[in-house]
Symmetry: C2
């Protein structure tokens, strides 16, 4: 089957690009002397995880317990729930931990350290705030030692310390991102050193985001990089030089549903749901690509710099400065649209139409959706 | 079971509010002397459709063929696919039409009128552009008569003419919205009159959006109002007076996952996916509510005007001007969050936890997700 025969809208994944993106990040981790923990919150697919997993590490990160349960069912040996866990989630997490080989979760509070005492199969990562100011403790926070002591006395394994330099998304240059990567490293390594100085074993020292992992110069003191978006890539990531635009592996297949030459407009059947309403490229100096960049059915940039400039639920509106290629895109024609933030785009789709260059569908991969 | 025991994030629907919102819109249609065709693209649930359907009309609108197939399976007698259909969708549409009592689809081109010739069970609505400038023909477009003639000679039933005044979302006052409602009416009625003058029967004259349906003064010449968001409501709709904030029927249940008193911040486990990244209230003069307004577990506004001011995939950040109620919202506490655009929010969730005031779950309704 070919993309021209597939129902639209649909999510397309280029397997060759995915493989190369995964190989590149794994090579980066190797060159820095650390392991790679792929974050599967973006692609939510066992097929993608099998390509992404670092064979010398074996673990992944997830953002929901549904993901944890799904990947545990496939025997993934080391599952890190990389969001601060709450008391009500502990029974479900414990059930996953009971049949997974290794399950760990983030915490950043004394309350949750105490709550874990009843669930000794769930290992704890103490989350460190390296500057994102979302969750996590500052590396010099007094509670760091207190939490480790509570865990130790309760017999809860300390998996390590972990941080996410999400503020790297606010940087626009490789140098700025590299500086955040160094903030990440110093914050989490100093937290590990404080804990070790206080007598605690700290096996894992985990840091990451895609931009900081790409632009990181040193991983000294880290045990693993943790990143997810790099596998697929998206327009925001290419806008901040995490990868090249033609390395983006995931696109949305759409059909042309209307021509409006009187206002130089083409309408497609991928709107705010299929593409997502993420507008992160609007923050890039020269890189605002609306709701997505329109490629041809083969995923090639042969249509010029066409963008989806407006969306409603199931409609996307392409409006051009230059005359649009109406003859190349008759009603029913297919296009592939790169989007701003692939985590948001992929989340609502329940499968990937897998290609390997071109438009021949070589596989269909299921993926998780929802909670 | 109660909301305090439910896994988060989750979608909550208040059945009493839904019923009252549906009754109010039905009363509006009655007062104008027309039928009501609920658009099920928002709630995507048979249980909601059964409450919303106008018994004197019987029909619904849908935005995807998956919705059409789902509602056809439940025996809904009149299904209007309210998006311009394309050649590749016709076989699937015809299969739905073959076992549905009535299936119709929008078209706005000569090409699609010709393509329908092979599918005489699919009735056609000619879409009219009443000013939104998305899809549809201007009421005075020459192709209107041409399309009707092609349909007639091919034996394809003409369901009627239909328009969507989506530009009502750009208005901020009841008067401005009422003016768009009148534009909708005049455009679609004049198109119907042109067709009738040319000898074509035009059974249906359909117009709608939630704002124009609420603020419409006249439906003369229309046969039906078509709207969807009104059933649930959202913060944008309350911001433009489509309904009151305390009439909004759908919210997102979330758990507090972290406290950051040092920067007056509470983090919850509903982020850009569970809430959506829609920021439509940013366009309201005094009504920017970030990514959502935070209510207590009973859906009451007892926490002050707390808003979710930042989101990442699975994190929502509440930051207050006034000191946040940390003691009322310990880690694990539940809140319910009203969102900007319920169509975007509901789409990624696969069920409703149904309450009827308070936090007792009285039913769980399945809903559609994806394509």
């Amino acid at each position: 089957m070919r993309l021209i025969e597939a129902a639209t809208p649909a999510l397309v994944l280029d397997r060759g690009k995915l493989r190369r993106n995964c190989e590149r990040m794994l090579a980066k981790a190797r060159s820095l002397g650390v392991g790679l923990r792929p974050h599967m919150k973006t692609l939510k697919s066992i097929d993608a995880a099998r390509i992404a997993i670092d064979p010398s590490h074996g673990g992944i990160a997830v953002s929901t317990l549904k993901e944890a349960s799904y990947f545990a069912d496939y025997g993934i040996a080391d599952l890190q729930y990389a969001v601060c866990i709450t008391p009500d989630k502990l029974p479900q997490a414990a059930a996953i931990a009971a049949h997974a080989l290794g399950f760990s979760a983030f915490i950043d509070s004394v309350e949750m350290a105490r709550a874990l005492a009843d669930y000794p199969r769930i290992a704890a990562w103490i989350e460190i705030d390296s500057g994102e100011h979302r969750t996590g403790l500052a590396p010099d926070d007094d509670r760091l030692i207190h939490i480790a002591a509570i865990l130790k006395s309760a017999g809860v394994p300390l998996a390590g310390v972990a941080t996410h330099g999400g503020h790297s998304y606010g940087e626009r240059t490789p140098e700025g991102i590299a500086a955040v990567a160094e903030q990440e490293r110093l914050a989490v390594v100093s937290a590990a050193e404080r804990l070790r100085a206080a007598g605690f074993a700290v096996p894992g020292v985990s840091a990451g985001s895609t931009p900081t992992s790409v632009h990181r110069a040193s991983a000294d003191g880290l045990t693993e990089l943790r990143a997810g978006v790099y596998m697929a890539g998206d327009l925001f990531q290419s806008g901040i030089a995490s990868l090249a635009e033609d390395e983006i592996a995931v696109s949305v297949l759409a059909s042309v549903i209307a021509h409006k030459p009187e206002r130089n407009q083409i309408v497609v059947d991928a709107g705010g749901l299929a593409l997502s309403k993420d507008r992160s490229t609007a923050a890039l100096a020269d890189g605002d690509l609306g709701f997505g960049l329109v490629l041809d059915i083969n995923g090639e940039a042969s249509l010029g710099r066409l963008t989806v400039d407006g969306v409603s639920q199931e409609h996307g509106e392409i409006r051009g400065a230059a005359p649009l290629p109406f003859e190349r895109l008759p009603i029913g024609a297919r296009v592939r649209i790169l989007t701003n933030h692939v985590c948001m785009t992929a989340a609502i789709h329940d499968r990937y139409l897998v290609v390997d260059g071109g438009e021949e569908i070589v596989e269909v991969w299921d993926k998780l959706i929802g909670w």
